[in-house]
Symmetry: C3
């Protein structure tokens, strides 16, 4: 994907795109595109994508020079170029990165005069250190890595090749960031975990947090997100993990590869999240539990016990008009008692209750056993 | 509201206050006040306000030189000066800003020697750039704007006239901040949205986030709050929006004018919040939905569907003693089954059930239809 | 706990540890330890601890030079040294701090050349000011305090003796930090509270926030946590309070001594939290209420009314498989109606209902009164 700056002004030829990213080209490969735009307002010089054939009507007003469509979709008419591919959304992701790289002014590699880099730090020649960055003793900054304005890299920390620390992000001492990672602005990796013993008077006595944070390759950490270092062992974030903004990852948490955490998630200490999980925004995960690979947790749900079987789990109840909610909330405080009252009514009515119920639901053989399971 | 520094030491004459902010003055307009204080501990030289006539008893121990009271409230005795106004709380807000301005030492306008300002940036002569601020190429800083210590203004970003970026806040490339806005310390505006496609192996492929954040006039963004840039389109924050601390606003969200978001709110991608809404602290708003103008969402509620009609909506249930809660939580896991058991009991008892119920609630014509609505 | 750097390489003699921290030494006091390790993988030169006698099996594979065990526990065999103490976890906390101090390279006390310190600030000779820190007019930095890289100490703010501000943390003007406190990276203390009046058109008018934040001794404030200054009065954080990451403490909140707030907690304005409380992660506390001393609030619970009696309170419901949850959530929207339907069934069945119920629960005298309480 090497391109000269002059390409940026002229745009990228569609033939080059297909040569690099695959797909089937229909039309004129010499057409060039500068950037992506939404289907409904794309203009000449822009490229758009049709995620699913069902959205075909959006093509009607599209004036893009090139559209990316699903394999076998033949209804894209009147475009200078069309690319068919199995997954247009994935194609969009890959091409968007390439176009962005062309549009971004080249940053002069090197070290800003104001940066404060310890003499013992090992910084690759082609790394980029921006204004007011601080790199402490024995830290390592790998090839083509960039350390943004005002970033802090602590003593002995490691920033892997091609990783980016954006403005004001912090990597504390001895923590390790893999390759091609991004720390978004304000992210803090490696602050002390929240660990205290209580003395005889009930005051907290701080436990030294001597573990590190180990972050794999291709990991993104969102703006103002915090990932704490371990107490004795390390906090470990697997390859390909994506973490959104304002997420809290406590000490000694382990997150398996390619799991994604949406914004405002909180994970308590020593929880172990599997691989390929998705944790919805605002969800909370209690400490010292495990979540199986490929688990989906709904937004704002509380995970208070281990989830040992993959699936889709939800906990937060949807809102209601305040008056309705208020009546239900009052009843909810007596729900166990309501259950007891139902039980009494059933027992008063005798065995006829279940007989009649079965009669009314003849086609449902599970009805009896479900009810039985429900009765203590 | 121009005042010489000497006024600060002497205080502000009440006659000047009324001339500027309105209201009816009773008493001596030459009395001066230095600052606000709560009614119950205000002393000479201070001004206090009585929000509602019902709180009149708080005036008994008040020794303020001036009190601001509701229109027509004549029970404020023994004060050197009294100001009557339709909305004392609003009057307090306006006067508090004025007094604060007088008490704050004038900051020397100009550019701190350590600031790192790109030669192509356009900075107004009367803007103020503090220590270790970074202003990148082609950025614009408007008249009387202030860029605090350690702030970052990215390439091509715009800070409107009279806006303030406080310590360590970040405005990423190409984002636009209107006039009279405040970014509180640590706020990050314009970080990448959380957008990924999945490849065939399930790994996330980053989607370039090429939209901007457009922020209107008179907007406040709280400390360590994050507002992400759009993917293709922009994230848009309307005029007069007020956002508290630690709020996450995801990519392509649109927030209408004068809406307020309390602390720890999370808004997922592409949600559209109307004007004049209030979103309570810790609430979560799912992606791609709409909330009508003038809607109030209760604290910690989850909005998982669009709210098309203005009103007050709530979702989070109040806490209970752990033992009670635990019994109710267990019953809640079987609530749908409890409903089914009630249905069976009703069907066993036959039509008499609803007859008798109606007899017991003769005055309530809605009883039958409500019950009917509830029965599938 | 003064130690020469040479001790660090050689480790700390167990006899010195017992002399300083107490406990009963069995074995060889001349044995030295360098650091803690978990029981299951501790090696020679390391010290481990057994929190409870019930975990004794973990000692089998432990190769630590020294283990710390509960008083009277005599099964620790084959270790060069054993320390018996009433609370091994507390002993671990104290010793871990000491060992960490020995392992940490001594930072050169003094002021980094790049730091920007106002001439009127009073900085103790043995305080440490790191690169790109900003200390404004009239601020005070006490003995042995450290101000990390890129920190901001506002006009007139006070940092107490032995307190640490870590990288990029912010203490705004006039706020006061006690002794031996830690502000973790990115923490913001003293930003404006979220206070607005509404004008006649519904637009927010900012209320000047002129109170301060007063923080006691031995307080820790987590990474990217925010504590707002008061509106008229101060926000007050008591001695020994420990606050985790990404917590929001609003204006005029008061937190009693030795209370701990886990990650992602949000506390609304003017709430008063007692002493020795524990607020679980993600919990939300509404404004203007009180929580009694020694109260425990479960994670993600919403406190919407005052808690006047100490105890353990919970509010968030645990998650369930999505399909089950979905059925229960639908039923929950009609819970008050379900209660009404139960009531009708009971009234249709007449007084026999409660008689029979009592007969079935003869041993439970509370059954009747509980039910009665439940019926409006």
């Amino acid at each position: 994907m090497n391109s000269t700056p002059s390409q940026a002004g002229k745009g990228l030829p569609v033939a080059d795109i297909v040569a690099q990213l695959g797909g089937v080209l229909c039309g004129d490969g010499s057409v060039t595109v500068l950037r992506f735009a939404p289907l409904e307002r794309a203009q000449s010089g822009e490229v758009a994508f049709l995620a699913r054939a069902a959205q075909a009507r959006l093509l009607r007003d599209c004036r893009a020079s090139c559209v990316i469509v699903p394999e076998g979709f033949d209804e894209a008419q009147g475009f200078a170029a069309v690319i068919q591919t199995a997954d247009p959304y994935l194609y969009y992701a890959r091409l968007s990165q390439w176009l962005q790289q062309l549009q971004t002014p080249p940053s002069s590699r090197g070290r800003h005069a104001s940066a404060c880099v310890d003499a013992s730090a090992r910084v690759a020649d082609d790394a980029w250190i921006d204004a007011f960055a601080v790199i402490e003793a024995d830290a390592v900054v790998g090839p083509r890595a960039s350390i943004g304005a005002g970033c802090f890299v602590g003593r002995g920390a490691v920033v892997g090749a091609d990783s980016r620390m954006l403005a004001r992000s912090v990597l504390m001492h001895e923590c390790i960031l893999g390759q091609r990672c991004t720390l978004h602005p304000g992210a803090v990796v490696g602050a002390d975990g929240f660990g205290y013993a209580r003395d005889a008077q009930g005051a907290g006595v701080r436990i030294a947090q001597t573990g590190r944070v180990l972050i794999g390759d291709d990991v993104d950490i969102g703006a103002n997100t915090t990932v704490d270092r371990g107490a004795l062992d390390d906090t470990v974030i697997g390859d390909g993990v994506k973490i959104d903004n304002l997420v809290q990852v406590a000490h000694n948490v382990r997150i398996g590869p390619h799991t994604a955490l949406a914004g405002c998630v909180g994970i308590a200490g020593s929880a172990r999240i599997g691989a390929y999980c998705f944790i919805g925004g605002g969800a909370g995960i209690a400490g010292h539990l495990e979540i199986a690979d490929h688990t989906v947790i709904g937004g704002m749900s509380l995970v208070s016990r281990s989830v040992r079987q993959a699936g889709h789990y939800t906990g937060a109840f949807p809102l209601d008009q305040h008056q309705n909610w208020s009546a239900n909330a009052a009843a909810l405080r007596h729900l166990a008692q309501l259950r007891e009252r139902i039980r009494r009514l059933e027992s008063q009515l005798g065995p006829a209750a279940s007989r009649q119920a079965d009669a009314g639901k003849a086609g449902d053989p599970s009805a009896r056993s479900t009810t039985a399971h429900n009765q203590p």
